[in-house]
Protein backbone atom coordinates (compact mmCIF):
# COMPACT_ATOMS: atom_id res chain seq x y z
CA UNK A 1 0.00 0.00 0.00
CA UNK A 2 1.49 3.34 -1.05
CA UNK A 3 0.40 6.10 1.26
CA UNK A 4 0.97 9.83 1.25
CA UNK A 5 0.31 11.99 4.30
CA UNK A 6 0.11 15.78 4.08
CA UNK A 7 1.47 17.46 7.21
CA UNK A 8 1.55 21.16 8.01
CA UNK A 9 3.88 23.00 10.35
CA UNK A 10 1.80 25.32 12.54
CA UNK A 11 1.99 27.54 15.58
CA UNK A 12 1.51 25.32 18.64
CA UNK A 13 -2.29 25.37 19.11
CA UNK A 14 -1.95 24.32 22.74
CA UNK A 15 0.22 27.30 23.64
CA UNK A 16 -1.35 29.29 26.50
CA UNK A 17 -4.12 31.55 25.10
CA UNK A 18 -2.47 34.55 26.80
CA UNK A 19 0.63 34.12 24.60
CA UNK A 20 -1.39 34.53 21.41
CA UNK A 21 -0.69 37.87 19.72
CA UNK A 22 -1.35 39.29 16.29
CA UNK A 23 0.10 42.16 14.34
CA UNK A 24 -2.94 44.09 13.17
CA UNK A 25 -0.95 46.13 10.67
CA UNK A 26 0.12 43.10 8.65
CA UNK A 27 -2.83 40.88 9.59
CA UNK A 28 -0.47 38.16 10.73
CA UNK A 29 0.05 36.12 13.86
CA UNK A 30 3.23 36.66 15.82
CA UNK A 31 5.27 33.62 16.76
CA UNK A 32 5.11 33.50 20.58
CA UNK A 33 8.62 33.52 22.04
CA UNK A 34 9.74 30.21 23.46
CA UNK A 35 6.90 28.20 21.96
CA UNK A 36 8.22 26.23 18.97
CA UNK A 37 5.88 25.31 16.12
CA UNK A 38 4.55 21.77 15.80
CA UNK A 39 3.11 19.43 13.21
CA UNK A 40 -0.60 20.21 13.18
CA UNK A 41 -2.09 17.64 15.62
CA UNK A 42 -4.71 16.25 13.23
CA UNK A 43 -1.95 15.71 10.67
CA UNK A 44 0.00 13.72 13.24
CA UNK A 45 -3.07 11.59 13.68
CA UNK A 46 -3.22 11.21 9.90
CA UNK A 47 0.34 9.84 10.09
CA UNK A 48 -0.86 7.51 12.84
CA UNK A 49 -3.71 6.25 10.63
CA UNK A 50 -1.22 5.47 7.87
CA UNK A 51 1.17 3.79 10.31
CA UNK A 52 -1.61 1.52 11.57
CA UNK A 53 -2.21 0.31 8.02
CA UNK A 54 1.51 -0.12 7.51
CA UNK A 55 1.71 -2.12 10.76
CA UNK A 56 -1.04 -4.49 9.69
CA UNK A 57 -0.19 -5.05 6.05
CA UNK A 58 3.00 -3.24 5.17
CA UNK A 59 3.41 -0.33 2.84
CA UNK A 60 5.28 2.85 2.27
CA UNK A 61 4.48 6.24 3.78
CA UNK A 62 5.62 9.45 2.13
CA UNK A 63 5.04 12.66 4.06
CA UNK A 64 4.47 15.88 2.16
CA UNK A 65 4.90 19.29 3.79
CA UNK A 66 4.51 22.72 2.20
CA UNK A 67 5.92 25.97 3.51
CA UNK A 68 9.03 28.05 3.77
CA UNK A 69 11.88 28.04 6.29
CA UNK A 70 10.48 24.83 7.71
CA UNK A 71 12.12 23.68 10.92
CA UNK A 72 13.75 20.34 10.26
CA UNK A 73 13.17 19.11 13.83
CA UNK A 74 9.47 19.76 13.45
CA UNK A 75 8.79 18.48 9.95
CA UNK A 76 10.88 15.35 10.51
CA UNK A 77 8.68 14.19 13.37
CA UNK A 78 6.52 11.93 11.16
CA UNK A 79 9.74 10.19 10.03
CA UNK A 80 10.68 9.53 13.63
CA UNK A 81 7.21 8.05 14.19
CA UNK A 82 7.82 5.58 11.37
CA UNK A 83 7.07 7.25 8.04
CA UNK A 84 9.49 6.38 5.23
CA UNK A 85 10.11 9.49 3.21
CA UNK A 86 9.71 13.23 3.50
CA UNK A 87 9.12 15.60 0.62
CA UNK A 88 9.20 19.32 1.32
CA UNK A 89 7.64 21.86 -0.98
CA UNK A 90 9.80 24.63 0.30
CA UNK A 91 10.08 28.04 -1.27
CA UNK A 92 9.07 31.56 -0.42
CA UNK A 93 6.49 31.60 -3.21
CA UNK A 94 4.56 28.85 -1.39
CA UNK A 95 3.97 31.29 1.47
CA UNK A 96 0.77 33.19 2.14
CA UNK A 97 -1.50 30.77 0.34
CA UNK A 98 -5.10 29.86 1.00
CA UNK A 99 -6.85 26.51 0.69
CA UNK A 100 -6.83 26.84 -3.11
CA UNK A 101 -3.19 27.52 -3.69
CA UNK A 102 -2.16 25.00 -1.03
CA UNK A 103 -4.37 22.17 -2.32
CA UNK A 104 -3.22 22.86 -5.85
CA UNK A 105 0.49 22.68 -5.03
CA UNK A 106 0.02 19.55 -2.89
CA UNK A 107 -2.03 17.85 -5.61
CA UNK A 108 0.62 18.60 -8.20
CA UNK A 109 3.31 17.21 -5.90
CA UNK A 110 1.23 14.07 -5.36
CA UNK A 111 0.95 13.67 -9.13
CA UNK A 112 4.70 13.88 -9.33
CA UNK A 113 5.12 11.24 -6.59
CA UNK A 114 2.89 9.25 -8.91
CA UNK A 115 2.08 5.99 -7.19
CA UNK A 116 -0.42 6.16 -4.38
CA UNK A 117 -3.35 4.19 -3.04
CA UNK A 118 -4.28 6.33 -0.08
CA UNK A 119 -3.74 9.97 0.78
CA UNK A 120 -4.24 11.17 4.32
CA UNK A 121 -4.71 14.69 5.65
CA UNK A 122 -5.75 16.05 9.03
CA UNK A 123 -9.40 17.14 9.15
CA UNK A 124 -8.29 20.77 9.45
CA UNK A 125 -5.05 22.60 10.11
CA UNK A 126 -4.80 23.90 13.67
CA UNK A 127 -4.07 27.45 12.49
CA UNK A 128 -6.71 28.43 9.93
CA UNK A 129 -9.14 25.65 10.90
CA UNK A 130 -10.83 25.73 7.49
CA UNK A 131 -10.74 22.03 6.67
CA UNK A 132 -10.76 22.40 2.91
CA UNK A 133 -7.37 21.27 1.65
CA UNK A 134 -8.06 17.52 1.86
CA UNK A 135 -11.27 17.75 -0.16
CA UNK A 136 -9.56 20.14 -2.55
CA UNK A 137 -6.69 17.76 -3.28
CA UNK A 138 -9.16 14.93 -3.89
CA UNK A 139 -11.20 17.08 -6.25
CA UNK A 140 -8.13 18.18 -8.23
CA UNK A 141 -6.93 14.57 -8.49
CA UNK A 142 -10.44 13.33 -9.26
CA UNK A 143 -10.52 10.70 -6.52
CA UNK A 144 -13.12 10.04 -3.81
CA UNK A 145 -12.70 11.63 -0.39
CA UNK A 146 -14.01 10.73 3.04
CA UNK A 147 -13.60 13.37 5.71
CA UNK A 148 -13.40 13.30 9.51
CA UNK A 149 -12.45 9.65 9.90
CA UNK A 150 -11.90 8.03 13.28
CA UNK A 151 -10.96 4.59 11.99
CA UNK A 152 -9.45 3.49 8.70
CA UNK A 153 -8.96 -0.14 7.73
CA UNK A 154 -7.80 -1.57 4.42
CA UNK A 155 -9.74 -4.67 3.37
CA UNK A 156 -9.60 -6.44 0.00
CA UNK A 157 -8.37 -3.54 -2.05
CA UNK A 158 -10.88 -1.22 -0.46
CA UNK A 159 -10.85 0.99 2.56
CA UNK A 160 -13.43 0.92 5.31
CA UNK A 161 -13.76 4.15 7.21
CA UNK A 162 -15.68 5.21 10.29
CA UNK A 163 -16.70 8.79 9.62
CA UNK A 164 -17.77 10.89 12.61
CA UNK A 165 -21.21 12.51 12.38
CA UNK A 166 -23.12 14.54 14.98
CA UNK A 167 -24.52 11.70 17.06
CA UNK A 168 -22.33 8.78 16.19
CA UNK A 169 -20.56 7.57 13.12
CA UNK A 170 -21.07 6.14 9.68
CA UNK A 171 -19.25 3.14 8.29
CA UNK A 172 -18.31 3.92 4.70
CA UNK A 173 -16.43 1.85 2.15
CA UNK A 174 -14.47 3.39 -0.66
CA UNK A 175 -12.48 2.10 -3.60
CA UNK A 176 -8.82 3.03 -4.03
CA UNK A 177 -7.21 5.40 -4.65
CA UNK A 178 -8.92 7.64 -2.14
CA UNK A 179 -8.25 10.53 0.20
CA UNK A 180 -9.16 10.38 3.88
CA UNK A 181 -9.08 13.20 6.43
CA UNK A 182 -8.50 12.19 10.03
CA UNK A 183 -9.96 13.46 13.32
CA UNK A 184 -8.71 13.16 16.89
CA UNK A 185 -11.25 10.43 17.72
CA UNK A 186 -8.82 8.12 15.88
CA UNK A 187 -6.78 8.07 19.09
CA UNK A 188 -3.44 9.51 20.04
CA UNK A 189 -0.57 9.49 17.63
CA UNK A 190 2.31 7.30 18.74
CA UNK A 191 5.45 8.77 20.23
CA UNK A 192 8.65 8.80 18.28
CA UNK A 193 10.96 6.01 19.39
CA UNK A 194 14.67 6.60 19.98
CA UNK A 195 15.38 4.33 17.03
CA UNK A 196 12.96 6.34 14.96
CA UNK A 197 14.58 9.62 15.92
CA UNK A 198 18.01 8.28 14.96
CA UNK A 199 16.72 6.99 11.65
CA UNK A 200 14.96 10.27 10.94
CA UNK A 201 18.12 12.23 11.70
CA UNK A 202 19.92 10.36 8.94
CA UNK A 203 17.18 10.83 6.35
CA UNK A 204 17.41 13.82 4.07
CA UNK A 205 14.15 15.30 2.92
CA UNK A 206 13.60 15.71 -0.82
CA UNK A 207 13.04 19.38 -1.60
CA UNK A 208 10.88 20.47 -4.49
CA UNK A 209 10.57 23.96 -5.89
CA UNK A 210 7.58 25.14 -7.93
CA UNK A 211 9.28 24.18 -11.22
CA UNK A 212 9.84 20.65 -9.92
CA UNK A 213 6.10 20.09 -9.66
CA UNK A 214 5.31 22.01 -12.83
CA UNK A 215 3.42 24.93 -11.33
CA UNK A 216 3.60 28.61 -12.13
CA UNK A 217 4.31 31.01 -9.25
CA UNK A 218 1.01 32.73 -10.09
CA UNK A 219 -0.92 29.59 -9.14
CA UNK A 220 0.53 29.07 -5.69
CA UNK A 221 1.10 30.84 -2.40
CA UNK A 222 -0.29 34.33 -1.98
CA UNK A 223 -0.59 34.81 -5.76
CA UNK A 224 -2.81 31.76 -6.18
CA UNK A 225 -5.36 32.76 -3.55
CA UNK A 226 -9.06 32.90 -4.34
CA UNK A 227 -10.03 34.44 -1.02
CA UNK A 228 -8.81 37.63 0.50
CA UNK A 229 -8.14 38.20 4.17
CA UNK A 230 -9.55 41.62 4.99
CA UNK A 231 -8.86 41.66 8.68
CA UNK A 232 -7.44 39.55 11.47
CA UNK A 233 -8.29 40.48 15.03
CA UNK A 234 -8.60 39.15 18.55
CA UNK A 235 -12.09 39.22 20.02
CA UNK A 236 -12.20 41.29 23.19
CA UNK A 237 -13.28 39.47 26.30
CA UNK A 238 -14.59 41.88 28.86
CA UNK A 239 -15.63 39.19 31.31
CA UNK A 240 -15.38 39.94 34.99
CA UNK A 241 -15.40 36.88 37.15
CA UNK A 242 -16.61 37.04 40.71
CA UNK A 243 -14.57 34.56 42.75
CA UNK A 244 -16.54 33.12 45.63
CA UNK A 245 -14.44 33.55 48.74
CA UNK A 246 -14.64 31.08 51.62
CA UNK A 247 -12.43 29.27 54.09
CA UNK A 248 -12.65 25.94 52.34
CA UNK A 249 -13.53 24.84 48.80
CA UNK A 250 -16.56 23.02 50.19
CA UNK A 251 -17.85 26.20 51.75
CA UNK A 252 -17.17 28.07 48.53
CA UNK A 253 -19.13 25.40 46.67
CA UNK A 254 -22.15 25.87 48.92
CA UNK A 255 -21.86 29.65 48.69
CA UNK A 256 -21.72 29.38 44.91
CA UNK A 257 -25.09 27.63 44.94
CA UNK A 258 -26.57 30.47 46.98
CA UNK A 259 -25.02 33.01 44.61
CA UNK A 260 -26.58 31.31 41.60
CA UNK A 261 -29.90 31.22 43.38
CA UNK A 262 -29.69 34.94 44.17
CA UNK A 263 -28.82 35.66 40.55
CA UNK A 264 -31.84 33.53 39.55
CA UNK A 265 -29.64 31.20 37.55
CA UNK A 266 -31.02 28.12 39.28
Amino acid sequence: MNMIVCCKQVLDPEAPPASFKIDPASNTVLQPPGVPPVVSPFDEQAVEAALRIKDSQGGKITVLTLGNNLLRDVVKKPLSMGADELVLLEDEVFEGGDSWSTAYALAMAIKKIGEFDLIFCGRQAADWDAGQVGSGIAEILGIPSITVAKKVEAIDGKVRVERVIADGYQVVEVTLPALITVTNELGEARYATLKGIMAAAKKQPTIWKPVDIGVEPSQIGAAGRRSKLLKLFQPVREGKCEIIEADTPAEAGANLAVKLRDAKLI
Binding site: A18, A130, C241, L265
Partner: protein, 332 residues
Protein backbone atom coordinates in the same frame (compact mmCIF):
# COMPACT_ATOMS: atom_id res chain seq x y z
CA UNK B 1 -21.67 34.97 -18.86
CA UNK B 2 -24.35 33.70 -16.58
CA UNK B 3 -25.88 36.23 -14.29
CA UNK B 4 -25.51 35.33 -10.66
CA UNK B 5 -28.66 36.17 -8.74
CA UNK B 6 -30.25 35.32 -5.46
CA UNK B 7 -29.11 34.07 -2.08
CA UNK B 8 -29.38 30.30 -1.73
CA UNK B 9 -29.47 28.23 1.43
CA UNK B 10 -28.56 24.56 1.32
CA UNK B 11 -31.02 23.14 3.83
CA UNK B 12 -30.77 19.95 5.83
CA UNK B 13 -33.67 17.86 7.08
CA UNK B 14 -34.22 15.12 9.60
CA UNK B 15 -37.37 13.02 9.40
CA UNK B 16 -39.08 15.42 7.05
CA UNK B 17 -38.32 18.51 9.14
CA UNK B 18 -35.83 21.31 8.65
CA UNK B 19 -32.97 21.19 11.13
CA UNK B 20 -32.67 24.10 13.57
CA UNK B 21 -29.52 25.29 11.82
CA UNK B 22 -31.38 25.40 8.49
CA UNK B 23 -33.92 27.80 9.96
CA UNK B 24 -31.02 29.92 11.23
CA UNK B 25 -29.49 29.92 7.74
CA UNK B 26 -32.83 31.02 6.29
CA UNK B 27 -33.00 33.83 8.82
CA UNK B 28 -29.53 35.02 7.87
CA UNK B 29 -30.14 34.45 4.15
CA UNK B 30 -33.34 36.51 4.28
CA UNK B 31 -31.42 39.47 5.70
CA UNK B 32 -28.70 39.21 3.05
CA UNK B 33 -31.25 38.79 0.25
CA UNK B 34 -33.19 41.84 1.43
CA UNK B 35 -30.02 43.90 1.52
CA UNK B 36 -29.20 42.84 -2.01
CA UNK B 37 -32.86 43.18 -3.05
CA UNK B 38 -32.86 39.65 -4.34
CA UNK B 39 -34.76 36.43 -3.70
CA UNK B 40 -34.01 33.95 -0.97
CA UNK B 41 -33.72 30.50 -2.48
CA UNK B 42 -33.47 27.22 -0.65
CA UNK B 43 -32.39 23.84 -1.94
CA UNK B 44 -33.29 20.59 -0.22
CA UNK B 45 -31.79 17.26 -1.22
CA UNK B 46 -32.78 13.81 -0.01
CA UNK B 47 -34.80 10.67 -0.55
CA UNK B 48 -38.08 12.11 0.69
CA UNK B 49 -38.43 15.65 1.92
CA UNK B 50 -41.90 15.53 3.47
CA UNK B 51 -43.15 18.86 4.74
CA UNK B 52 -39.71 20.46 4.79
CA UNK B 53 -40.02 22.45 1.51
CA UNK B 54 -43.19 24.18 2.72
CA UNK B 55 -41.55 24.81 6.04
CA UNK B 56 -38.62 26.54 4.31
CA UNK B 57 -41.10 29.05 2.90
CA UNK B 58 -42.62 29.58 6.33
CA UNK B 59 -39.11 30.38 7.57
CA UNK B 60 -38.38 32.92 4.87
CA UNK B 61 -37.59 31.32 1.48
CA UNK B 62 -39.14 32.73 -1.71
CA UNK B 63 -38.39 29.68 -3.78
CA UNK B 64 -37.51 26.16 -2.74
CA UNK B 65 -35.79 23.74 -5.09
CA UNK B 66 -36.18 20.08 -4.21
CA UNK B 67 -34.16 17.12 -5.39
CA UNK B 68 -35.61 13.76 -4.35
CA UNK B 69 -34.06 10.45 -5.33
CA UNK B 70 -33.63 7.08 -3.57
CA UNK B 71 -29.90 7.36 -4.30
CA UNK B 72 -29.86 10.44 -2.04
CA UNK B 73 -31.13 8.58 1.03
CA UNK B 74 -27.82 9.06 2.79
CA UNK B 75 -25.33 11.85 2.38
CA UNK B 76 -22.45 10.77 0.20
CA UNK B 77 -19.90 13.18 -1.12
CA UNK B 78 -19.98 11.99 -4.73
CA UNK B 79 -23.75 12.02 -5.19
CA UNK B 80 -24.45 15.23 -3.30
CA UNK B 81 -21.65 17.18 -4.96
CA UNK B 82 -22.97 16.04 -8.36
CA UNK B 83 -26.47 17.23 -7.49
CA UNK B 84 -25.28 20.55 -6.14
CA UNK B 85 -22.91 21.21 -9.03
CA UNK B 86 -25.78 20.78 -11.47
CA UNK B 87 -28.18 22.87 -9.40
CA UNK B 88 -25.71 25.72 -8.91
CA UNK B 89 -24.83 25.81 -12.59
CA UNK B 90 -28.52 25.89 -13.57
CA UNK B 91 -29.72 28.36 -10.96
CA UNK B 92 -26.49 30.36 -10.54
CA UNK B 93 -27.11 32.05 -7.21
CA UNK B 94 -24.84 34.84 -6.11
CA UNK B 95 -24.41 33.46 -2.59
CA UNK B 96 -24.64 29.91 -1.29
CA UNK B 97 -24.88 29.27 2.46
CA UNK B 98 -24.50 25.90 4.14
CA UNK B 99 -24.41 24.80 7.77
CA UNK B 100 -21.14 23.86 9.44
CA UNK B 101 -22.33 20.29 10.03
CA UNK B 102 -21.06 16.81 9.21
CA UNK B 103 -22.59 17.38 5.75
CA UNK B 104 -21.69 21.04 5.24
CA UNK B 105 -18.06 20.74 6.21
CA UNK B 106 -17.67 17.90 3.69
CA UNK B 107 -19.88 19.18 0.90
CA UNK B 108 -18.84 22.84 0.86
CA UNK B 109 -15.11 22.44 0.16
CA UNK B 110 -15.52 19.69 -2.42
CA UNK B 111 -18.29 21.56 -4.24
CA UNK B 112 -16.30 24.78 -4.07
CA UNK B 113 -13.25 23.20 -5.65
CA UNK B 114 -15.44 21.76 -8.39
CA UNK B 115 -16.96 25.17 -9.06
CA UNK B 116 -13.64 26.97 -8.76
CA UNK B 117 -14.71 29.15 -5.85
CA UNK B 118 -13.50 29.69 -2.31
CA UNK B 119 -15.82 29.25 0.69
CA UNK B 120 -15.45 30.80 4.14
CA UNK B 121 -15.96 28.00 6.62
CA UNK B 122 -17.63 28.11 10.02
CA UNK B 123 -18.71 31.75 9.89
CA UNK B 124 -20.09 33.55 12.93
CA UNK B 125 -21.14 36.64 11.03
CA UNK B 126 -22.04 37.41 7.44
CA UNK B 127 -22.44 40.87 6.03
CA UNK B 128 -22.73 42.57 2.67
CA UNK B 129 -20.10 45.22 2.02
CA UNK B 130 -22.12 48.35 1.25
CA UNK B 131 -19.70 49.45 -1.49
CA UNK B 132 -18.68 46.30 -3.30
CA UNK B 133 -21.86 44.33 -2.44
CA UNK B 134 -19.61 41.37 -1.74
CA UNK B 135 -20.19 38.91 1.09
CA UNK B 136 -17.86 39.26 4.05
CA UNK B 137 -17.59 36.26 6.33
CA UNK B 138 -16.18 36.50 9.84
CA UNK B 139 -14.83 33.22 11.12
CA UNK B 140 -12.84 32.03 14.11
CA UNK B 141 -9.27 31.00 13.30
CA UNK B 142 -6.32 29.74 15.33
CA UNK B 143 -8.54 27.57 17.47
CA UNK B 144 -10.74 30.51 18.39
CA UNK B 145 -7.86 32.74 19.46
CA UNK B 146 -8.55 35.13 16.60
CA UNK B 147 -11.21 36.04 14.08
CA UNK B 148 -10.70 36.68 10.41
CA UNK B 149 -12.86 38.46 7.87
CA UNK B 150 -12.67 36.96 4.40
CA UNK B 151 -14.06 37.98 1.06
CA UNK B 152 -13.97 36.22 -2.28
CA UNK B 153 -14.82 37.58 -5.68
CA UNK B 154 -15.43 34.24 -7.34
CA UNK B 155 -19.12 33.45 -7.76
CA UNK B 156 -21.12 32.03 -6.17
CA UNK B 157 -19.72 33.32 -2.92
CA UNK B 158 -19.92 30.43 -0.49
CA UNK B 159 -19.94 30.24 3.29
CA UNK B 160 -20.73 27.70 5.95
CA UNK B 161 -22.29 28.99 9.15
CA UNK B 162 -21.79 27.81 12.70
CA UNK B 163 -24.73 26.56 14.72
CA UNK B 164 -26.55 29.09 16.85
CA UNK B 165 -24.62 31.99 15.37
CA UNK B 166 -27.70 33.33 13.51
CA UNK B 167 -31.34 33.68 14.51
CA UNK B 168 -34.27 32.19 12.62
CA UNK B 169 -37.26 34.33 11.65
CA UNK B 170 -40.54 33.84 13.41
CA UNK B 171 -42.34 31.20 11.38
CA UNK B 172 -45.07 32.81 9.27
CA UNK B 173 -47.62 30.33 7.92
CA UNK B 174 -49.10 32.94 5.62
CA UNK B 175 -45.87 33.44 3.66
CA UNK B 176 -46.13 32.55 0.00
CA UNK B 177 -43.43 30.89 -2.02
CA UNK B 178 -42.80 28.52 -4.86
CA UNK B 179 -41.64 24.91 -4.69
CA UNK B 180 -39.72 23.71 -7.74
CA UNK B 181 -38.70 20.06 -8.01
CA UNK B 182 -35.57 19.51 -10.08
CA UNK B 183 -34.33 16.29 -11.54
CA UNK B 184 -30.68 15.33 -11.55
CA UNK B 185 -29.54 12.16 -13.30
CA UNK B 186 -27.30 10.19 -10.97
CA UNK B 187 -25.07 7.44 -12.25
CA UNK B 188 -24.60 4.89 -9.42
CA UNK B 189 -21.33 3.78 -11.04
CA UNK B 190 -19.87 7.21 -10.33
CA UNK B 191 -20.54 6.97 -6.60
CA UNK B 192 -17.32 5.48 -5.32
CA UNK B 193 -18.34 5.26 -1.69
CA UNK B 194 -20.87 2.99 -0.05
CA UNK B 195 -22.48 3.58 3.33
CA UNK B 196 -22.45 0.23 5.16
CA UNK B 197 -24.21 1.39 8.31
CA UNK B 198 -24.95 4.41 10.46
CA UNK B 199 -24.30 3.96 14.15
CA UNK B 200 -26.07 6.27 16.60
CA UNK B 201 -24.32 6.91 19.88
CA UNK B 202 -26.89 9.13 21.47
CA UNK B 203 -26.81 9.43 25.20
CA UNK B 204 -29.96 9.16 27.25
CA UNK B 205 -31.75 12.17 28.64
CA UNK B 206 -31.71 15.75 27.43
CA UNK B 207 -29.63 16.41 24.32
CA UNK B 208 -26.48 18.34 25.04
CA UNK B 209 -27.17 20.91 22.30
CA UNK B 210 -30.66 21.57 23.63
CA UNK B 211 -29.96 21.63 27.36
CA UNK B 212 -30.43 24.89 29.28
CA UNK B 213 -27.89 23.75 31.86
CA UNK B 214 -24.65 22.00 30.96
CA UNK B 215 -22.26 20.51 33.47
CA UNK B 216 -18.94 19.95 31.73
CA UNK B 217 -15.90 18.16 33.06
CA UNK B 218 -12.28 18.39 31.96
CA UNK B 219 -9.02 16.55 32.31
CA UNK B 220 -8.90 17.43 36.00
CA UNK B 221 -11.89 15.16 36.67
CA UNK B 222 -9.38 12.34 36.42
CA UNK B 223 -11.54 9.42 35.33
CA UNK B 224 -15.02 8.08 34.56
CA UNK B 225 -16.05 7.90 38.24
CA UNK B 226 -15.84 11.67 38.62
CA UNK B 227 -18.29 12.12 35.78
CA UNK B 228 -20.92 10.29 37.86
CA UNK B 229 -20.84 13.27 40.21
CA UNK B 230 -21.30 15.64 37.28
CA UNK B 231 -24.24 13.53 36.10
CA UNK B 232 -25.88 13.83 39.48
CA UNK B 233 -25.65 17.62 39.33
CA UNK B 234 -26.88 17.68 35.73
CA UNK B 235 -29.90 15.64 36.72
CA UNK B 236 -30.81 18.01 39.52
CA UNK B 237 -30.49 20.96 37.14
CA UNK B 238 -32.44 19.11 34.43
CA UNK B 239 -29.45 19.58 32.19
CA UNK B 240 -26.87 17.52 30.36
CA UNK B 241 -23.26 16.48 30.89
CA UNK B 242 -20.55 17.56 28.48
CA UNK B 243 -16.78 17.43 28.41
CA UNK B 244 -13.63 19.00 27.08
CA UNK B 245 -11.60 16.87 24.73
CA UNK B 246 -9.29 14.95 27.08
CA UNK B 247 -12.10 13.02 28.85
CA UNK B 248 -13.34 11.94 25.39
CA UNK B 249 -9.87 11.07 24.14
CA UNK B 250 -9.36 8.99 27.29
CA UNK B 251 -12.74 7.25 26.86
CA UNK B 252 -14.02 8.40 30.25
CA UNK B 253 -17.11 9.62 28.39
CA UNK B 254 -18.43 9.05 24.83
CA UNK B 255 -16.88 11.18 22.06
CA UNK B 256 -20.29 12.71 21.39
CA UNK B 257 -20.00 14.70 24.63
CA UNK B 258 -17.07 16.76 23.38
CA UNK B 259 -17.72 20.49 23.40
CA UNK B 260 -15.59 22.84 21.35
CA UNK B 261 -14.19 23.72 18.00
CA UNK B 262 -14.35 20.16 16.77
CA UNK B 263 -17.13 19.04 19.07
CA UNK B 264 -20.58 20.33 19.91
CA UNK B 265 -21.52 23.99 20.14
CA UNK B 266 -23.66 24.74 23.16
CA UNK B 267 -25.28 27.96 24.32
CA UNK B 268 -27.13 27.14 27.55
CA UNK B 269 -28.28 29.59 30.21
CA UNK B 270 -25.86 27.96 32.63
CA UNK B 271 -22.53 26.35 31.78
CA UNK B 272 -20.68 24.85 34.69
CA UNK B 273 -17.08 24.06 33.78
CA UNK B 274 -15.41 21.76 36.26
CA UNK B 275 -11.64 21.21 36.07
CA UNK B 276 -11.47 22.66 32.57
CA UNK B 277 -8.62 25.07 31.85
CA UNK B 278 -10.47 27.04 29.18
CA UNK B 279 -8.43 26.51 26.01
CA UNK B 280 -9.51 28.60 23.06
CA UNK B 281 -10.61 25.42 21.27
CA UNK B 282 -12.89 24.48 24.16
CA UNK B 283 -14.26 27.99 24.54
CA UNK B 284 -15.17 27.95 20.85
CA UNK B 285 -17.92 25.52 21.78
CA UNK B 286 -19.27 27.16 24.92
CA UNK B 287 -18.49 30.88 24.91
CA UNK B 288 -22.02 31.59 23.64
CA UNK B 289 -23.40 30.36 26.98
CA UNK B 290 -25.28 33.04 28.93
CA UNK B 291 -23.51 32.33 32.20
CA UNK B 292 -20.29 30.40 32.62
CA UNK B 293 -19.42 29.13 36.08
CA UNK B 294 -15.96 27.72 36.71
CA UNK B 295 -14.56 25.42 39.36
CA UNK B 296 -10.81 25.08 39.02
CA UNK B 297 -7.95 24.74 41.47
CA UNK B 298 -5.74 27.07 39.42
CA UNK B 299 -6.64 30.72 40.01
CA UNK B 300 -4.82 31.64 36.79
CA UNK B 301 -6.80 29.25 34.60
CA UNK B 302 -8.06 30.91 31.43
CA UNK B 303 -11.63 29.77 32.07
CA UNK B 304 -11.97 32.44 34.77
CA UNK B 305 -11.59 35.07 32.05
CA UNK B 306 -14.86 33.86 30.55
CA UNK B 307 -16.69 32.99 33.74
CA UNK B 308 -19.21 35.08 35.66
CA UNK B 309 -18.77 33.23 38.94
CA UNK B 310 -15.90 31.03 40.00
CA UNK B 311 -14.62 28.86 42.76
CA UNK B 312 -10.87 28.39 43.10
CA UNK B 313 -10.29 25.02 44.67
CA UNK B 314 -10.33 21.27 44.33
CA UNK B 315 -13.54 20.18 42.64
CA UNK B 316 -13.60 17.03 44.75
CA UNK B 317 -14.40 19.21 47.72
CA UNK B 318 -16.27 22.06 46.09
CA UNK B 319 -18.61 20.08 43.85
CA UNK B 320 -20.30 17.77 46.38
CA UNK B 321 -21.05 20.75 48.62
CA UNK B 322 -22.30 22.74 45.64
CA UNK B 323 -24.52 19.89 44.43
CA UNK B 324 -25.94 19.33 47.91
CA UNK B 325 -26.75 23.01 48.32
CA UNK B 326 -28.32 23.26 44.86
CA UNK B 327 -30.48 20.28 45.69
CA UNK B 328 -31.54 21.84 48.96
CA UNK B 329 -32.33 25.19 47.35
CA UNK B 330 -34.31 23.65 44.52
CA UNK B 331 -36.27 21.47 46.94
CA UNK B 332 -37.05 24.38 49.22
Amino acid sequence: MAEFKGVMVYGETTEGKLTALTTELLGCGRRLADELKEDLLCILVGEQLGEAPQSAIVYGADKVYTVEDPLLKEYQTDSYVTVMEKAIKDISPQILLLGQTAIGRDLAPRLAFRLGVSPSMDCLELNIDPDTKLLQGTRPVYGGNARAIFVSESLPQMATVRQKAMSPLEPDESRKGEIAPIKVELDPAKIKTKVIETVKEEVEGIKLEDAEAVVAGGRGIGGPEGFKELEELAKILKGAVGASRPPCDNSWVPDTLQIGLTGKIVTPELYIAVAISGSSQHLSGCSGSKNIIAINKDAEANIFKEARFGVVGDWKQALPAFTAKVKELLAG
